[in-house]
């Protein structure tokens, strides 16, 4: 497990959650592997309590399965679960961008514009990691524009299933297209053009195709 430092102001629980989530998405913690509360607590320099809470959070969206008196295990990749995550994201993203098209706060609009400027900057630098972060933030801002922050949070938790298979996929160079998609969405929001925005969201999501057979061929043990 890769453990980076605890950020200032981060509670023990949040710290444990962040580290576990990162390691699950990257499959540094392999699907099916045991995540012991004691062992994790020791590695993070915490007691069991906050670690236990973080594990429980992850279990709530079935990315960890806890079996009483046996252990907590990173869930095997379950195509059904990946589909639930994909479905949730699509349904909510579409519904939320419709709201954003209807009315948007100038401040949020500014934040979206700044975000895209940064995306283009890092695209020219070829910094994929930064684009990944900005991508997440861009979509979150649309939820903020629609005043649906809690829903965004719920979605994020579920998205772990999706992000994990994404991280296993061969990363083709598609950052350019992603940034262009975002640009188009922002334009649609400015023009209050719901249909255009929705079409773009759907196109955008289609770029993250889950090629189950391919990944299953490479990592058969990771699957349910």
């Amino acid at each position: 497990m890769i453990v980076d430092a605890r950020q200032s102001g981060e509670s023990a629980r949040d710290y444990a959650y962040r580290i576990l989530k990162e390691n699950i998405i990257s499959t540094e913690l392999k699907p099916g592997s045991l995540v012991s509360e004691n062992e994790t607590a020791a590695k993070l320099g915490l007691s069991r309590t906050p670690v236990r809470e973080a594990i429980y959070d992850l279990a709530k969206v079935s990315i960890i399965e806890t079996i009483p008196q046996k252990g907590s295990f990173v869930a095997l990749i379950d195509p059904k679960m990946v589909e639930e995550a994909r479905f949730l994201r699509k349904v909510l993203d579409v519904a939320v961008i419709r709201l954003a098209c209807q009315e948007i706060d100038p401040e949020i609009l500014k934040a979206l514009e700044d975000n895209i400027d940064l995306q283009e900057f890092y695209l020219s630098k070829g910094n994929a990691e930064k684009i990944y972060e900005l991508d997440n933030e861009f979509h979150r801002l649309i939820y903020v524009a629609a005043h649906k922050e809690i829903i965004c949070e719920l979605k994020s938790n579920m998205l772990i299933h999706f992000d994990r298979v994404r991280s296993l996929s061969v990363e083709t160079v598609r950052d350019m297209k992603i940034v262009a998609d975002h640009s188009g969405m922002l334009a649609a929001i400015k023009e209050h053009d719901e249909e255009k925005a929705v079409a773009l969201v759907e196109k955008h999501l289609s770029r993250y195709h889950f090629d189950e057979e391919l990944i299953r061929g490479q990592f058969p043990d990771y699957f349910k």
Copy 2:
């Protein structure tokens, strides 16, 4: 706080969660009131740990607000939050019933039919509480039909905001209409008629109108 007995096979954590949720929805635990971990644990005959975990779960959907070293408080009614819950329910219910219309397992269909028979039975008996339970179960079954169980769970958690204001509303006699709505939805699913089903879902949800001014007039202290 009204505490009924712990069910067999129910973990301490689940028990605490269930009791707290019921008391929050019924406003037996008043908006703004303190929910002390120690006090709750004592009342339920548990230790702090499982109670703490239950409180944390509720805090995740902002129905409880925990302030470190100060306390955990039942959230005041926040119309924004009620709206987020309503929005989530509508968007998901619509998306999910579309899937159910496309394809439905005969077993689930049977369960839906049985459920409606029971609804009609209890309607004739005038048993509102049973209808409430069957109502929840009916909608859950549609999620099961669409293979979206986890999403259903996430929605349920958020719905607490919605259910709480619903429980504060004067209960007009509308059970009849609700049961009829369900009947219509089932028919639409059988006929694979998506548009009809969606129209019914939207009509159905419109019956749960949140009359903010009315409730605010009656319980001004409960609001944010």
